[in-house]
């Protein structure tokens, strides 16, 4: 992990790329260019990119774009994937209505 630790590490200038307009996070409609720019703004971890841009914070909770964002970040930072860690996973695994989430029942109780 040491590579991402020094946030003043020189990762070069942001260079616009032809495919920057490619949508990566389908839920929150975040493009590859936005992700790359966020990295140059100092967001060196998947968690920071997520908090900064909302990648992976949509309805699907990053199930579709998680790997794609990671690959983009690794390339931009010059790291291998394993050096980059991962964004966290949160309860609930699938979206659940408030009235259901708040309705705790004993197992076997007629739901």
């Amino acid at each position: 992990m040491h590579n991402v630790n020094n946030r003043s590490r020189d990762i070069g200038e942001f260079v616009p790329a032809e495919d920057d307009e490619l949508l990566i996070c389908r839920c929150e409609e975040i493009t590859k260019g936005e992700i790359r720019r966020a990295i140059h703004d100092g967001m060196f971890t998947l968690t920071e990119i997520r908090r900064y841009l909302r990648t992976g914070m949509g309805l699907c909770q990053g199930q579709t774009c998680g790997k794609l964002v990671k690959e983009i970040a690794a390339r931009e930072l010059g790291l291998v994937l394993s050096e980059l860690g991962n964004a966290s996973s949160r309860v609930p695994m699938r979206p659940i209505e408030m009235k259901v989430f708040g309705n705790e029942k004993e197992p076997g109780e007629n739901a």
Binding site: L23, C65, K67, L68, M93, R94, N103
Partner: protein, 529 residues
């Protein structure tokens, strides 16, 4: 709180196998699955599985699902469906969404068998309706009886891409192209060959430039890529398709484990982020086990064995059996597992360029590039012989873990031996009866019966056939070669269906004898053709 010996999350092949095994040793087991149907991906698999006959090879996936479920029911395993596990918390507690409530359960052991999720690849237009995952295609056609489209491009030549393409054909769709950026086919050659002979064109070293359309996909542009994955100018080509299917690999779906605090590792060979676990599938959290794709993406056959090992390990962890029993049973299962993990598609060989089989046969580059052999190449493989009467021709050229053909032949014409990944050898001294059991048994549809002495000037070829409408005896049409091109007129002389063939019909066609080693598929000649 309601407590079980073992809580299994996921009623797929791994989870059900684990539940069955644990229940055999007396554990009180519950299985939760978020889907309305159990079996995980099994119920979407209409093809026959590879592997060893002891571990459910040549059985169609959805039947394996039913079998496992029946075993689980017989052993008193509770399988709760439409039950979404919301979270895995401290002290091995889970919360489950069941109908309109949240319920809490504790397990003395927990097995997470949540499987894998499909990888996706972005390209211009990839968010348009009509771009779907290959799994979505399978779900729609094989579970819900609705085809995803009429004209389809499949991206990805791994086994999923190949198998789903074939299933699309079976559902009545046209597969316009099979595209992969890699220079060679990633999945089994036999899966590719059964597509190629129907005429599906393979575009290796190609990539999708963009999906066309405003409200939904109306076409696609593909182009060739060089060794550095850059598109080669001037190679762009437009294809009219209404559906683009993505089959670009799977990633373990390990979120529950990560959430619970399991130590995770990034392991590209396992398909991504997986929990660190021991040989029995136990994670860094005592009593929390994993099995199947969630701990590393493999075939369903491996997942079932892993599940059994984890189920037994849970039994030992909870004191239902002695360590000695675990060691003994697990050892046998591990050796079965390791035999499945051998051959040229083994994890350690991923990405390697393997030029020769274990036996020293040269692997056909034409097969890897186009999906089929050149005529001259076929005869060098040990399953392909020229004999006077009817005999099996096995066009199996890669070391893959599969051996049902060996046992299918009542006359022992086919030999693989103990090593499950060996190429099948046709014994020229044995006496083929032409029963066709091997043709129907081959999960790769790579076995044909050829009789060059069928009648003067004509040979007969018996091919496996899994399409509708099924031609009838006397029907005329075209024989297609391995690449799907028409090579000669052909007449259907025999159609065999039998319960033992399990929906693989045997179609015997008559072709000029010169075509005996060329013709491999039949296409009905209807007036609109």
């Amino acid at each position: 709180m309601k407590r079980y010996d073992l809580i299994v999350v996921g009623a797929g092949p791994a989870g059900l196998s684990a539940a069955v095994e644990a229940a055999k040793y007396g554990l009180k087991v519950v299985v939760f699955d978020e889907n309305a149907n159990p079996g995980g991906q099994l119920f979407k698999q209409v093809h026959k599985f590879f592997g060893s006959k002891e571990h459910k090879a040549k059985i169609r996936g959805f039947r394996i699902g039913s079998q496992l479920l029946e075993e689980a029911n017989n052993l008193g395993v509770e399988v709760v469906l439409n039950a979404t596990v919301a979270g895995l918390f401290q002290d091995k507690e889970i919360t489950v969404r069941i109908k309109d409530s949240i319920q809490h359960y504790k397990g003395d052991a927990i097995l997470v068998a949540t499987g894998a999720a499909e990888n996706m690849v972005p390209f211009k237009g990839w968010t348009l309706p009509g771009v779907i995952g290959a799994g979505a295609a399978q779900t729609m056609m094989n579970l819900h009886g609705v085809v995803p489209g009429q004209k389809i491009l499949m991206l990805g030549s791994g086994n999923v891409g190949l198998v789903v393409s074939y299933q699309l054909l079976q559902a009545g769709c046209e597969v316009v192209a099979l595209v992969d950026a890699a220079p060679k086919i990633g999945g089994y050659g036999v899966h590719a060959a059964k597509l190629a002979r129907t005429g599906v064109p393979f575009y290796l070293s190609h990539t999708i430039i963009k999906a066309e359309g405003t409200d939904c996909v109306t076409g696609v542009t593909i182009a060739e890529v060089d060794k550095t994955w850059k598109t080669i100018p001037g190679t762009a080509k437009s294809l009219a398709v209404d559906t683009i299917c993505l089959a670009v690999g799977l990633s373990p779906m390990a979120q529950l484990l990560k959430m619970a605090g399991c130590i995770m590792e990034d392991n590209p060979k396992k398909g991504g982020q997986v929990p660190v676990c021991n040989a029995y599938g136990e994670t860094s959290l005592r009593g929390v086990f994993v099995a199947g794709d969630v701990s590393g993406v493999e075939e369903a056959s491996s997942a079932m064995i892993e599940g059994r090992i984890a189920g037994i390990a849970a039994a030992e962890y909870l004191g239902y059996i002695d360590k000695a029993v675990l060691t003994e049973v697990a050892e046998a299962l591990e050796s079965a597992l390791s035999s499945l993990r051998q051959g040229m598609f083994a994890v350690e060989n991923r990405g390697k360029n393997i030029e020769k089989t274990d036996e020293g046969y040269v692997v056909s580059q034409h097969l890897l590039k186009k999906g089929y052999f050149q005529d001259a190449e076929v005869e060098k493989y040990p399953g392909v012989t020229r004999q006077p009467g009817v005999h099996a021709v096995i066009e199996c050229s890669q070391n893959i873990p599969c051996n049902p053909c060996q046992d299918a032949c009542p006359r022992h014409c086919i030999k693989i031996g103990d090593k499950i990944t060996s190429l099948p050898v046709v014994d020229e001294t044995a006496n083929c009866s032409g029963c066709g059991m091997c043709v129907a048994a081959c999960s790769g549809q790579a076995i044909f019966l050829v009789n060059e002495g069928y009648e003067a000037g004509y040979a007969s070829i018996t091919i496996p056939y899994e399409f509708l409408p099924l031609p009838g005896e006397g029907d005329r049409g075209w024989a297609l070669d391995r690449g799907g091109s028409k090579v000669c007129a052909a007449e259907v002389v025999k159609v065999q269906t039998a319960p033992v063939f399990d929906h693989t019909s045997l179609l015997t066609i008559k072709v000029p004898v010169a075509m005996a080693m060329k013709a491999r598929f039949f296409k009905e000649d209807n007036c609109h053709a």
